[in-house]
């Protein structure tokens, strides 16, 4: 890693811009230069949005010069994972299926951040359609891990994670369906937050699995994640009818006390799948909480080992439905020649979708098809209920669950040739997704120079408590 001076905190950047001590323009120029200098090697960014971000920066500077505040994130540059719809740019979700698609509207999250003065300077690389845990499934090349360019940054929000770790921008947006914010955060040594399902609007983000998709911030520290969440959690979006009310007060409220806090160590996550060196970093982190005054409680969730099977039935089913809109008729990407509509559908989709998308569509179609629906999809959704009940029960006795994010640190590019082996890397992250629980990955050390992430999970709508607990560890370690 090089020695670029880190970005100040988001609060510090916004204060400096609102005070006129720094210009928004200089923040954008710094970010764009940083991206230009590093992206050739790391491929974290698919495209920059120069004209619009410079214009917005100038507008913000003019607003400040006229004596007004430009918002809580005034002049702060950020990257959006390329599944967020943004103006004046392509939104491809890193897939050829959406090549040439210029969104006519922006995602609600982008609108909310812009209203507070933040500036989207570009789109981050990802696994195409968010299908993957390594960013190797991007149709536009893999992103390299900032700690070791022969290794993956994780996925599917790999570009966002790498960009933040490389200090290209002080924060980036990711999405998490089964671990896609948390795992790359773990592999790249940054903070990644998956909020409670429904807390942040999904409107204007390319859908993967509608019952688990969560939008969230990726930052270098917990306070920044809390500030971004405070703005992203809009408190109900009429454009997304699955949004829920938010907790009262601000997500930036601090509470450093661990008095009467009970933290549950999930027995099922400390299995033979967990790398022993990673395990010892996690155990050391748990000791930190114990020494700081939290009560550590062993917890067992017997249905948790089935979470991965539930996930890889339910999620392909949902995504196969969500991807049916990519038919070669509604978006620019379409087969050049076709005899009839049927051929236009099949050729467009076959040319546009990559192997992993096709694989998951086929799995999803199978588990939903007549004769198999009950045995697979309905069964999985029912075992999901059992899992949720076990989480609910655990949370009547404890404040948070703690454990690893992933079984290992970042693996080598090309390290897995077998899809099922890749899917198994999600084993510790899918549980929280299926239950809609908020979960965070925070850096807790390294193994052979590669970062390890600690996962903390709280009950639904306890995102404030989650951030506070994460912040305690960050202060002490």
């Amino acid at each position: 890693m090089d020695t670029f001076k880190q970005w100040p905190s988001l609060q510090a950047i916004a204060d400096a811009v609102n005070n006129g001590n720094e210009t928004a323009e200089s923040q954008v120029i710094t970010a764009l230069k940083r991206i230009k200098d590093l992206n050739g090697v790391y491929n974290a960014v698919l495209q920059t949005i120069e004209a619009r971000s410079m214009k917005r920066a100038k507008d913000i500077d003019a607003l400040v010069a006229s004596g007004k505040s430009a918002g809580k994130l005034a002049g702060v540059p950020f990257l959006a994972k390329d599944n967020y719809l943004t103006f004046d740019s392509e939104t491809t979700a890193a897939s050829n299926m959406l090549k040439g698609f210029k969104a006519p509207y922006q995602s609600t999250v982008i609108e909310l951040l812009e209203a507070e003065g933040a500036i989207c300077v570009g789109k981050a690389n990802m696994d195409a359609f968010a299908h993957g845990g390594s960013t190797e499934n991007s149709d536009f090349g893999v992103t390299k891990n900032p700690y070791d360019i022969t290794r993956v940054p994780g996925g599917s929000s790999g570009g966002s994670a790498a960009a933040v770790a490389l200090n290209m921008v002080p924060f980036a947006l990711g999405s998490d369906t089964g671990g896609s914010i948390r795992q790359p955060a773990s592999y790249c040594g940054i903070v990644g937050l998956k909020p409670t399902y429904g807390l942040v609007s999904r409107s204007g983000v390319v859908a993967m699995a509608s019952s688990t998709d969560c939008m969230g911030p990726m930052t270098t520290n917990v306070a920044d994640a809390a500030l971004v969440l405070d703005i992203m959690a809009g408190g109900g979006d009429p454009l997304d009818s699955t949004t829920i009310d938010r907790e009262a007060g601000s997500y930036t409220e601090e509470n450093k006390s661990l008095n009467s806090i009970k933290i549950g160590v999930v027995k099922e996550w400390f299995d033979e799948g967990l790398d022993s060196a990673v395990r010892s970093r996690i155990e050391a982190a748990i000791e930190v909480y114990k020494n700081a005054g939290a009560e550590i409680v062993p917890v067992s969730l017997p249905t948790l080992p089935t979470a991965l099977a539930i996930y890889y039935i339910v999620v392909p089913a949902e995504l196969s439905s969500n991807l049916s809109r990519h038919d070669g008729q509604r978006y620019p990407s379409s087969a050049d020649s076709a005899e009839d509509l049927h051929e236009s559908y099949t050729k467009s989709r076959s040319q546009g979708f990559g192997a992993e998308a096709k694989r998951r569509i086929i799995i999803g179609t199978h588990v939903l098809s007549s004769g198999y629906y009950d045995a697979y999809y309905k069964k999985a959704q029912t075992v999901r209920t059992k899992l949720i009940n076990e989480f609910d029960d655990a949370f009547t006795r404890i404040d948070a669950l703690i454990g690893p994010v992933a079984p290992t640190t970042a693996f080598k590019i090309g390290g897995f040739s077998n899809p099922l082996e890749m899917y198994l890397q999600d084993m510790y992250s899918v549980g929280a997704s299926l239950a809609g629980l908020p979960a965070i990955s925070i850096p807790c050390g390294e193994v052979d120079g590669m970062p390890v992430g600690l996962q903390i999970i709280t009950d639904q709508k306890q995102d404030k408590k989650l951030l506070q607990l994460a912040s305690v560890y960050e202060d002490i370690k």
Binding site: I310, I313, R330, R349, S350, R359, I361, Q460
Partner: protein, 97 residues
């Protein structure tokens, strides 16, 4: 629950999901799908007596609003402009038969 899937079934799934697979692709996906379905067998032994399926985790029901435009984030023209081919106010597609 059958854990294996035949090449014919894979081709049928491809047709249902409007995908065109090469022979090599069909064979590859067949093998991978068999592995994945084998893995799903872990659910066979789980008792779900008295439980209902979960479709969504928010507990929200019947979220409705009045059918009036309050927030318009894009115009019909904008969306039409994205289609590879259009005519008047319609997306134009190839003939079906």
């Amino acid at each position: 629950m059958a854990q294996t899937i035949t090449l014919d079934e894979v081709r049928r799934l491809a047709e249902l999901s409007r995908l065109e697979l090469t022979d090599a692709e069909a064979i590859k996906y067949q093998k991978e799908l068999c592995d994945v379905l084998d893995y799903f067998a872990i659910l066979d032994g789980v008792s779900t007596e008295g439980l209902k399926p979960t479709n969504q985790v928010t507990g929200l029901k019947n979220v409705v609003r009045k059918d009036i435009v309050t927030k318009q984030i894009a115009q019909a023209n904008d969306l039409l402009a994205l289609a590879p081919d259009s005519q008047d106010n319609y997306v134009k597609v190839k003939r079906m038969i």
